[in-house]
């Protein structure tokens, strides 16, 4: 099970700014190790965000996203106390979901 995501969500001016730091190797599949063998691709393919249970964002990621990726987005109408939940799914079928409360 991968390391938990670090999620911060702050409400201001009628929206909540959500900042997520994900722990993931994000291996592109293009690199070769010292012996010359290709290091297999291992990266997040889908990210989804939910606001009080309703999906507000879906993203499709590929090998261009960096290791330990950082994601920031705004949810219009979200207020302090609301729940934000983030899920990622990678190409190995691994997934992780973490939640935070909007402050």
């Amino acid at each position: 099970m991968a390391d938990p995501m670090r999620i911060r969500a702050q409400a201001a001016d009628g929206k909540a700014t959500v900042r997520v730091l994900m722990s993931h190797e994000m291996e592109t599949g293009q690199r070769k190790d010292a012996a010359g063998n290709t290091i297999p691709a291992w990266h997040i393919q889908q990210v989804s965000a939910r606001w009080n249970g309703a999906t507000v964002m879906n993203a499709q990621w590929g090998p261009a996203v960096a290791k330990n990726p950082y994601l920031q987005f705004a949810v219009k109408g979200a207020k302090a106390g609301d729940k934000i939940s983030i899920t990622w799914l990678d190409n190995r079928g691994d997934n992780r979901t973490d939640e935070a409360v909007v402050s």
Partner: protein, 265 residues
């Protein structure tokens, strides 16, 4: 009619030149500012806090009784007073060598083994988390290394001499890169470390997450790679020269604000 396209070309040429100039020092400064939000050090801090509290090692104990200089278990504020003299080991120690002491005496790990372990492997990975956690607990505080003990003063003097020690096939010392203000290697600015280079710079910016390699580097690793680039032989992990340099830089940085764990390109 001919005037307008020429003027247009001129404007475009100037804009390109300006853009190129911006891509130089200013552009890079902008890029670095953008990196500051979403520092993956956060992930290492979380891991480190867990490792501090978790019962581990042959003695199945946590690090919560570890004395980092302000008393057993006191983490807040400890980072900005290291390296310092410790009565129990009778040595001036930096954060990493002190963590090794605690991992051995409290948890039963073999400190010498961890010192021999290459960076990024085995218990060295635990150290990455621990230095991120401990330094985070002093974030925003100002450096205030003690210099009351004779050994602390001695290490400062030795650190200064080490800083200016030129050798190797390139004749480099630390001062070759860090001895003057306003210098850079390629596009990487180099802080002057013979005096306080300011808040969040130099000694005040490590440990740090290096984006280019996706690695968390403590001061020991930073010094190790400095010596590699200086074409010196290999400095031992936690060796006296690394501690002395930490004392020299830390005392020079007195009053500077720590931003560790930081983010670097």
């Amino acid at each position: 009619m001919k005037r307008i396209p020429v003027a247009g070309l001129l404007v475009t040429a100037m804009a390109c030149a300006l853009a190129q100039q911006k891509f130089g020092a200013d552009g890079i400064a902008e890029y670095r500012k953008m990196l500051e939000d979403g520092n993956p050090s956060d992930l290492f801090e979380a891991r480190g806090e867990e490792l501090w509290k978790k019962k581990r090692g042959p003695k199945n104990a946590s690090l919560e009784q570890c004395d980092l200089g302000k008393g057993p278990g006191v983490v807040k504020g400890a980072f900005v007073e290291l390296p310092r003299y410790f009565a129990d080991t009778k040595k001036v120690q930096d954060l990493e060598s002190r963590l090794l002491t605690c991992m051995e005496t409290l948890q039963g790990f073999d400190a010498a083994e961890i010192a021999k372990t290459p960076f990024g492997v085995g218990e060295q990975v635990s150290i990455e988390g621990l230095v991120a956690y401990v330094s985070a607990e002093s974030r925003g505080s100002r450096f205030n290394l003690p210099q009351a003990h004779a050994d602390e003063q001695k290490m400062y003097e030795l650190g200064k001499r080490a800083f200016f020690y030129r050798a190797g096939p390139y004749d480099f010392s630390c001062a070759s890169c860090h001895g003057e203000a306003g210098k850079r290697i390629r596009m990487q600015e180099l802080p002057k470390l013979t005096s306080d280079p300011g808040d969040g710079v130099g000694f005040a910016a490590w440990p740090a997450y290096r984006l280019s390699s996706g690695e968390m580097w403590g001061m020991q690793r930073r010094l190790n790679d400095c010596y590699r680039q200086q074409r010196f032989p290999f400095p031992g992990y936690g060796s006296d020269v690394t501690i002395a340099l930490g004392v020299y830089m830390g005392v020079n940085a007195k009053g500077a604000q720590s931003i560790a764990p930081a983010i670097k390109r």
